[in-house]
Structures are given as C-alpha cells and as structure tokens.
C-alpha cells in the first residue's frame, strides 16, 4: 500500500519582515522550483477556505 497523499499549503506573505514587498520574480521562481520538484503547484492569491 502506498503512503497516504497530502495536500501541502505554504502561506507566503505579501511582504518580508522588513516591509519590502515579496517580488513577483521571487514568487515565480519559488513556484517554478516547487513545480519542478513535485510536478505541479497551484497558487491562490487568497486562501481557498
């Protein structure tokens, strides 16, 4: 029997702790990294509930 699957959610803030906005480049690169590792990643700009 295979291991149970999980839905993993990462809550990424809009700004860093220094108050600098998290750049689109950083976010896109992070999303690409996850996509490459896991084969897919979905982003939501608001919590889906």
């Amino acid at each position: 029997m295979s291991a149970p699957s999980h839905l993993v959610q990462i809550l990424v803030p809009k700004e860093t702790g220094n108050g600098t906005p998290v750049s689109k480049e950083w976010f896109d690169s992070f999303l690409k990294e996850l996509t490459e590792k896991f084969g897919g990643a979905t982003s939501f700009v608001r919590a889906p509930g």
Binding site: L7, L11, T16, G17, V22, G39, S43
Partner: protein
C-alpha cells in the same frame, strides 16, 4: 498532492523561507487526503503544492513582525539610512557630471567624499550596537533619486539644470536630516549616547551641506536660471 510527507524537507524549506523573507515564522500545513471513492492509482496522484499569498491585513497578522521594540526600530532605521547613503554615493557622480556651475560641482564632489565617510561612521555605529551592518530597502530615497534623475533629464538649459540639481540635492539632505534626527533621539532614549554622538557628526555634515546648497541657490544659481 505529495505522497508521504518528507518532514525534514518541509522543515528545511520553512527555515529557508523564514530567512529569505525575514520572517520569524512561515506557516506550512499539510492535510492527509482520503479518496472519496475507490483507490487512487499511484500514477493518478498528481503532486500539487498549493501556495497561498494572503491579501488582507488580517491575514498578515498570521506573521510575526520583526520590529517589536524601540531598539528593533532603531536598528531598522539605521539600516534604512545605511541603504540611503549608499544610493546617494552611487548617484552623486552623475550629479557632479551634470552640474555646470563650478562651485556646485565642487560642492557635490565634497559631499561625495563626506557621504563615503558617513557610511564608515554608520558601520561604526552598527558595530558599537552589536548588530550586522546591512541595508534595508528605502523606497523614500529611491523615489527622491528617481524623481531627481527624471527631472534632470527633462531640463535642457544648463543654468536651469543647476537649479534643479540643487533642489534635488536639498530634498535628499532634508530626508537624511529627518532620519538622523530621529536616530539620535532614539539612541539617546535607548541609553546609547555613544552611538548618538557618532550619528550627530553625520547630521552636522548634512545640515552644513544643506546650508551651503541654500546659499548657492539663493545667491547665484537661481538668478542665473531666471
């Protein structure tokens, strides 16, 4: 969905995100999925991570802020002016090149040397206070310098350009004066009069530069531009 849960991986990722985003805590949560009907074949287990950015102020409350005390605020503002001084040092050579009036050119050259000395003094204050010397983005100085560059690019007449350069430089000086004034007050409040006296040297230089620019504008440059 991810099959199994590689906890060390997620722990390491959380640590990395906390460092990269300067956050005390990043939330990564996982929930086990149960198929509603039947049994999923491994090939149909598409691996999906959902990344959520939070838009509301309330949501931002999930994240711990870095600035908690007056001391934190002092260090943050010190890093703000450290970044600002570095940006000014980068921009002054361009202003020196654009200035036509000899005394204005000389004034900018002197201030560039002073700015480099001010950066060294700030590094001394970081060291005295026992924190790492590093800058944080300062959108205010970026905006002042961007506007100065844009306005200078729109001015054709050299005398008018000198007047524009003085106005821009004074905007920069006034920004620095307000920051140093605040830092000195906070340093004294925190019992760091040693840091305050080093910062006072920078403030005195900024005020003297502002005063020189003012005299130059009123006695010569503005009249030539008119």
């Amino acid at each position: 969905m991810v099959e199994g849960l590689d906890r060390p991986f997620w722990r390491a990722l959380r640590g990395r995100l906390e460092r990269e985003l300067s956050q005390d805590e990043i939330v990564i949560r996982a929930q086990e999925n149960q198929p509603v009907v039947g049994r999923l074949e491994p090939s149909s287990l598409s691996i999906v991570c959902s990344v959520i950015t939070l838009e509301t102020e309330e949501a931002m409350g999930f994240f711990t802020k870095d600035i908690k005390t007056l001391d934190d605020l002092f260090v943050h503002t010190l890093r703000d002016i450290y970044y600002a001084e570095q940006q000014i040092a980068k921009n002054l050579p361009d202003m020196i090149e654009k200035a036509t009036d000899r005394s204005l050119k000389n004034g900018f050259e002197t201030h560039l040397a002073e700015t480099k000395g001010q950066i060294v003094r700030l590094e001394k204050v970081f060291k005295m206070h026992g924190v790492e010397a590093k800058g944080v983005d300062c959108p205010a100085i970026d905006g002042i310098l961007k506007e100065a560059s844009e306005v200078a690019g729109d001015v054709d007449d050299k005398s008018v350009l000198d007047a524009a350069l003085i106005a821009a430089a004074q905007a920069v000086e006034h920004y620095e004066i307000t920051r140093y004034g605040t830092l000195i007050a906070w340093a004294n409040q925190l019992g760091r009069s040693d840091c305050a006296s080093v910062l006072q040297q920078n403030l005195d230089e900024e005020k003297a530069t502002d005063s020189k620019l003012n005299t130059m504008a009123l006695k010569k440059v503005n009249q030539k531009a008119a």
